[in-house]
């Protein structure tokens, strides 16, 4: 039976989603627990990787079990065995041809930034920028991101892809007191893409770049044109949608 699960995790405690030998990873911890439940090896397929320090509210994974368990039982068994840093929010049985990565239709990421005083309690969960930013300028800049674009300027330099074209359905910024929340919804995001977008938007908010430069950077298709990579701690995979 194939199961689809929605999970949340505290990424600050792991070296990223993807399994690596002798390293604490989300996938590694999920497979450890499912191996116990299934009494044999289980391969966990995620909707995509998240890097070290990146969090998730709604990461999606699929896996096959040979033991006969219903959705509730799988959820309960996993949560009773998992580290408290990872939580299974929901489990549903899916068709055998469903794939958590290939069938993704939409992903939503948010990025949290604190413009106010440094807060030690949130240091692993909100980027402690601790200075004012021009939110209006950032908002203007984000308009250029919406729609279908080649995002080569905003991904990892050594990333060789068939296509760098992605469709951004929503790109917005909200201000809540001293907190900024960036939201990005699109059909897919490449490695470091959201953090490179946020890092470049921060430079717009600092007045170092004009909002319309975002358009020029997109057209250049050159990573060197974009800004710095924003820290991992502010980034959350919020939701993944399927057909």
């Amino acid at each position: 039976m194939r199961y689809l699960a929605k999970i949340s995790y505290d990424g600050s405690k792991y070296k990223g989603y993807q399994k690596q030998p002798n390293t604490k990873t989300i996938q590694g911890e999920l497979e450890r627990v499912l191996n116990v439940i299934n009494h044999t090896f289980v391969n966990v397929h995620g909707s995509g990787r998240t890097d070290a320090g990146v969090h998730a509210f709604g990461q999606m994974i699929h896996f096959d079990l040979i033991v006969d368990m219903n959705e509730k039982e799988v959820k309960k068994a996993m949560n009773s065995l998992l580290s408290p840093d990872i939580y299974v929010r929901a489990v549903t049985i899916v068709n055998d041809d469903f794939h958590a990565r290939f069938d993704v239709r939409k992903k939503e990421y948010i990025y949290q930034l604190n413009m106010g005083e440094y807060d030690p309690i949130q240091k692993d969960y909100v980027y402690q920028y601790n200075q004012e930013l021009d939110v209006k300028a950032i908002n203007k800049a984000m308009m250029y991101l919406k729609g279908e674009h080649n995002f080569r300027s905003f991904t990892k330099v050594d990333e060789e892809k068939e296509s760098y074209v992605r469709n951004i359905y929503e790109a917005k910024i909200q201000k809540d007191g001293n907190f900024l929340i960036f939201t990005f919804i699109g059909n897919g995001f490449m490695r470091y893409m959201v953090r490179n977008l946020v890092g470049t938007l921060i430079e717009v908010g600092e007045g170092k770049r004009k909002p319309q430069e975002i358009d020029e950077i997109l057209k250049a298709e050159d990573r060197k044109m974009a800004g710095k990579t924003a820290p991992a701690c502010g980034l959350y995979l919020k939701a993944v949608s399927y057909e």
Copy 2:
């Protein structure tokens, strides 16, 4: 020169405020840093202890330095040397007879509880109760706490005190979605007192106790009458006031 400093810290990374040999404590970390700044031993006096896992937004400490530094310089020097889990929010020069503990007039604690779904990201910062509570009943129960009472029933059993009488100026509960925030303002709080109050109030919210039982427990002056100690992770020392 005597300095008063307001500090915030992530208590989940420490074995409590008070210095202990070979243990990571808030006081120990503060003294380590001040010893470097002052080139000789500095004794740090806190407004009171916080237990392992308890956080602070506004803990107050005083200390004497022999080096000649102004308030800004002391703040900057401390923050550049401290672990990122502790932050000095403000430093002011005070009279030589000022004492961070003996001169306290008022303290404010808050306690955060999540009635909603388990959230791994907040597990060290909000008590993951993950079930509904009767907020109206808790609110009613908290009325009995206001004013001057003997709080012997709500403190550590082996605590021998001259007086168990404390004055609670404010005791209230706020609901924000699935989050509950308990606020307690008083002239002083004994060891485990806030956590024992919250633990007992949770039992009221569960329907296991009637709101008016709070009054009976206070009058009994017997720790066995009160409820369980709520976990440390939800507790924050928010503010300490002086004359």
